[in-house]
């Protein structure tokens, strides 16, 4: 018997007028897995997240969260789910503790455990000493940590993180990654949308690449590399004519062109004779960006 996945979307379609934001999406996330939903802006990641909480209604297909059909039983599902939105919607006039207390009251936490939940949330966000500071006085990084702590205040079984580190500096990003790592270690199911390759590579057990509302590849980072781009790439820099020449010589092999360079993927499989015609290139380790650009033709940050 197959265990019920934490998240299941089957044939999900979401249209906004003429635009199809999510296009026959099939996605399953087993319990305890951190799935990185990787894609550029407009790929349909945020719409997918909203459909999982019942804040957007699918035009076609079925959605289940921990076995609860959404939107029919989305309230039950949301009681087991923590959501961290992309945009900061904390109450700026209130203190950190008050923001967490409101969420602890909205979530199914017994009254006698709410203060403890608030204290735990403040500790998680490393804001215990700022418990009574107004949110409006916090830095961007502190607000982001508080936003995450708010979404986790009821110890959810599933956490949706929508672009958790977008616009943050590297130090704050590292702090957020520690929190997400902790969730993974505790066996919480995480669906994290991101358009940062490094973030997906660093945090996700599994990565789904999304483009134009569809999942176009899915697997562990290593599986995606092995399947699509191999272990190494051979990179050539030069004027446009030179790059066009390299592409012509490498015809039949996967290549990606970015700005002033062209990379031949699966460099390990380039025939010896072709090496002579290509000339000197720079050999580098293949990465997920190669996979993404190869599959979608789009460039991520």
């Amino acid at each position: 018997m197959t265990a019920t996945p934490a998240l299941r979307l089957q044939g999900v379609v979401k249209r906004f007028g003429a635009l199809t934001a999510v296009d026959h999406l099939d996605l399953e996330v087993p319990e305890g897995v951190c799935l990185g939903l990787l894609g550029p802006n407009g790929a349909g990641k945020s719409t997918t997240m909203k459909m999982l909480t019942g804040q957007a209604i699918a035009d076609e297909g079925t959605i289940e969260v921990l076995g609860f059909p959404v939107p029919a039983k989305s309230k039950q599902a949301r009681g087991l789910m923590g959501v961290v939105p992309q945009a900061d919607n904390l109450d700026e006039e209130l203190t950190c503790a008050e923001n967490l207390l409101i969420w602890a009251t909205l979530q199914p936490i017994p009254r006698n455990l709410r203060q403890q939940a608030v204290a735990d949330g403040l500790a998680l966000a490393a804001l215990t000493d700022r418990a009574h500071s107004k949110v409006g006085t916090l830095s961007g990084g502190m607000k982001r940590r508080l936003l995450i702590a708010r979404g986790l205040v009821h110890n959810p079984r599933v956490v949706l993180l929508d672009e958790p580190t977008v616009g943050l500096d590297p130090q704050v990003r590292a702090d957020i990654w520690v929190i997400i790592d902790r969730l993974r270690n505790e066996g919480v199911t995480v669906l994290m949308s991101t358009h940062y390759i490094e973030e997906a590579e660093r945090l996700a057990d599994d990565i789904a690449i999304m483009s134009h509302g569809r999942i176009i590849a899915r697997g562990t980072p290593q599986h995606l590399l092995d399947t699509h781009v191999g272990t190494h790439a051979l990179e050539f820099y030069g004027p446009p004519d030179r790059l066009t020449e390299v592409e012509a010589i490498a015809e039949g092999l996967p290549t990606r062109r970015t700005g002033p360079s062209v990379s031949i993927l699966r460099a390990e499989s380039i025939p010896e004779a072709m090496h002579d015609r290509l000339g000197a290139g720079t050999k580098r380790v293949a990465n997920l960006e190669d996979v993404f650009v190869l599959l979608t033709g789009e460039v991520l940050e």
Partner: protein
């Protein structure tokens, strides 16, 4: 089935917010109607001996209750709901917890109504200082304010969901809210108006609020007041339906 937990959560949020912002909220809701009361009551009152058997301060004092209730409910419903939806994205956050649109709007409407019930008493107390005789029936005024405020709170929420931008509230205020509070018997009796305007005023919920407050202060009028309460209850039901329907459309994609 009523989800008490969801209502308690939203009302707790309102209470915490109010604890922080009560001074500015209360100032705006009480001072403006009181200024109207003093300006009309003392200014015009010196020129007018009585209206329908009441002194002008008695007439305006009771009418200003409705003005205070209207201002504190409809504007809160309009502006607060709009700002929370469009700028602060508060509802996007709340809707990721186990609450739904109808619970949010209803709980926020109840909170607005509770405030309106309290704020509505301020002009009455000021009027008492200037000669309005207290009566036992006035104890019903907070409840009348609550019922009226509930309707206008929902009505304001609905308006927040239909305007294309926050600037459009200027049109709403000038073309809708101002006539509502002027043609309700607050500052002058409707008997001065042509018949068609008097008939139209029957559709104005604020008129029924004014009637109830006056009757509470000076003597109930039996079935007429039952009719006034019924009119307000119908207003609450319709406004709540419109509010939830519109905001659900706005918030759920």
């Amino acid at each position: 089935m009523i989800d008490v937990h969801a209502y308690a959560g939203i009302l707790t949020r309102e209470a915490i917010m109010f604890r922080r912002l009560w001074v500015s909220t209360t100032f705006a809701s009480i001072v403006e109607p009181t200024i109207y009361l003093l300006a009309f009551g003392l200014g015009l009152g010196a020129l007018i001996s009585n209206i329908n058997g009441y002194s002008y301060i008695e007439f305006v004092g009771t009418g200003s209750v409705a003005t205070a209730v209207l201002f504190s409910s409809v504007f809160t419903g309009m502006f607060t709901t709009y700002v929370r939806r469009v700028y602060q994205k508060t509802y996007d956050g709340l809707l990721s917890t186990p609450v739904d649109v109808s619970e949010i709007m209803t709980a926020e409407g109840l909170w607005i109504a509770a405030k309106a019930g309290v704020y509505g008493c301020a002009p009455l107390l000021v009027a008492m200082c200037f000669g309005l005789p207290p009566s036992w029936g006035m104890l019903a005024v907070p409840f009348i304010g609550f019922l009226t405020g509930l309707g206008f709170g929902f009505f304001g929420q609905w308006l927040s969901g239909i305007v294309p931008s926050i600037d459009a509230f200027n049109y709403v205020t000038s073309a809708l809210i101002t006539p509502l509070f002027l043609v309700a018997g607050t500052f002058f009796p409707l008997t001065q108006l042509p018949q068609w305007a008097r008939t139209l005023a029957q559709l104005n919920p604020l008129y029924h609020c004014v009637q109830l407050v006056r009757h509470a202060a000076f003597g109930w009028e039996g079935w007429a007041d039952v009719g006034n309460v019924a009119a307000l209850v119908i207003f609450v039901i319709i406004a709540r339906y419109l509010s939830i329907r519109r905001l659900r459309k706005r918030l759920i994609g």
